[in-house]
Symmetry: C2
């Protein structure tokens, strides 16, 4: 039985708890939830103990792997290396530009401790990275395209919320179908930012706010919206809550290549009703892999690219070969 702990009980941590309760994950047992909040304020669905994060070192021999459910901006850069010096860890660090630096830090911590830390697990980075790696290696001549959505972008929603007069907002990233069609056709187009995605915004404003001005500020916001076709919809607080509270997401990785004169197209896509629950399910499968790696004495930081597909499964390889090959 693999003893698992969750560190951080937000949407992702709750998703991990839910995934661990799936009967397919019977080889794993949720032992503890570590938190920075007052433990009494947290009410797990399972009967896992809630423990103040300061006490985590008392659990060194009692836990096989800690699933780090903190954020990439504030939590993981500090928490990750600390916890990786005591436990096997899995996390979803997703600040793309800082992954190499984070990898190095995690590698130092986990290598010294003879532990395994699997970083940047999820769907992008994660399953999409794996898809790109396979597709490039087996189809080296070609182009890889990634489209995201339809889904909520937290970063873009936050950016809108910072505008004066805005009470709340949700932003959907929407891939442009006609461009995806060209890619699938093997046209290998050069696509601009504007040709790949639309941005669709639902905004709740304060009384008396200047709608024209807000719309202008959104559409002209550099980095976030200026380079895109953006639509702004003003809605009531109730409508936002009722129709835009879900956390759907998804996306497409398309490799369009050729072998000589023959076109070959590989496509991988996700259509998710709950982005955090899907990411959580991936983290749980890689928690199993972290323990397998430790048992094989393959210590240090790893990414999804280093891990064989069979390590994610609780089934023995012979069974997988019979069923899946």
């Amino acid at each position: 039985m693999i003893k698992v702990a969750i560190c951080g009980y937000g949407n992702l941590g709750k998703g991990v708890e839910k995934a661990l309760s799936n009967s397919a994950n019977q080889d794993m047992e949720l032992v503890a939830i570590f938190t920075r909040r007052e433990p009494e304020t947290i009410h797990p669905v399972s009967d896992a103990k809630v423990i103040p994060i300061q006490e985590i070192k008392d659990y060194v021999k009692k836990i096989d792997v800690v699933i780090l459910c903190g954020g990439s901006a504030q939590d993981l850069p500090k928490q990750g290396p600390e916890i990786a010096s005591m436990f096997n860890t899995v996390d979803s660090f997703d600040t793309h530009a800082k992954i190499p630096e984070y990898f190095e830090k995690m590698n130092q911590s986990s290598s010294c401790a003879n532990k395994v830390s699997i970083i940047s697990v999820g769907w992008d980075p994660g399953m999409f990275s794996i898809t790109r790696a396979y597709a490039e290696s087996i189809l080296p001549t070609g182009n890889t395209y990634t489209f995201w959505g339809k889904g909520v972008s937290q970063g873009h929603s936050d950016a809108i919320r910072k505008i004066a007069g805005v009470k709340d907002a949700k932003q959907y990233t929407i891939p442009i179908e006609s461009s995806m069609g060209r890619v699938r056709n093997g046209e290998n187009p050069q696509l601009t930012t504007r040709e790949k995605h639309l941005r669709d915004c639902y905004v709740v404003v304060e009384e008396g706010a200047d709608l024209k001005q807000i719309e202008k500020e959104i559409k002209e916001m550099p980095n976030y919206f200026a380079d895109y076709e953006t639509t702004v919809n003003f809605v009531t607080e109730e409508e936002l809550k009722e129709k835009h509270s879900a956390m759907p997401h998804g996306g497409f990785v398309i490799r369009s290549g050729n072998t000589g004169e023959n076109k070959q197209v590989i496509e991988y896509s996700l259509k998710l009703e709950s982005n955090p629950e899907f990411t959580a399910s991936i983290l749980v499968a890689y928690a199993r892999a972290a323990v397998y790696l430790e048992r094989k004495n393959e210590f240090g930081a790893k990414t999804v690219l280093d891990i064989p597909p069979s390590f994610l499964s609780p089934e023995p390889t012979e069974k997988l070969i019979k069923r899946l090959l």
Copy 2:
């Protein structure tokens, strides 16, 4: 530099030769083509030497990996274990029901020789198996569906050719769009054989043949056609050659699952203008992996499920992390 040999110079072997000439595979060098035919009758595109298969044992130490391009029915069951006792090998053994038995034989040969044999490499078994393994592990509650096509099925084409009065034939397997739609929708339908694929046949007959009788024999042929909606088109020899000589194929693996009340759908698809060239490209990437595994002393038979994605690439992991994660 990885020294590669091809064993068997049919469509697949030619595809491997072509893939090895790709500049992305500069870390590999085609050294020899082994054949059972008279070497003079074979005219490689590259400047590889053509060698009678009997002389293969003289090349132990001169070759790092042999890509076995023979067929699963006649060639590989005998040739595979023999060659795996001398060289690292990669093959595309695809008789699904016999894979466990073949794995055992290859494992014995390659383990004793401290070599690596990667079996059943291609897209199904192969990339589709990998997709199923990842998808099941990260979404354990759900159903996996595989649809094949549109593409030529060699087995079904051969079956038609054996009917009296038939000179030649090509059979296309076509996935049924409406059923795929239901799967993508997350309906998790129970689909019968007839609901998943159509069979579309192009048949050239001998003079005076009984068309009605041939059509009846095709449509009622057990295992091959009786359980399917089948269309039979009689065409001239010229039309078959002109319009049906290509070797397109493809297919879809769809995992429709859920995390609690939320639906989550994963889809992987291939649209291939040349089935053998695509399979060949995959074999070449796994030839590289076979050599990496030997260097790590991980001997014996392996499948795609045992091999990390990064092993398929000539690039160092740090570069892959920067580019793909």
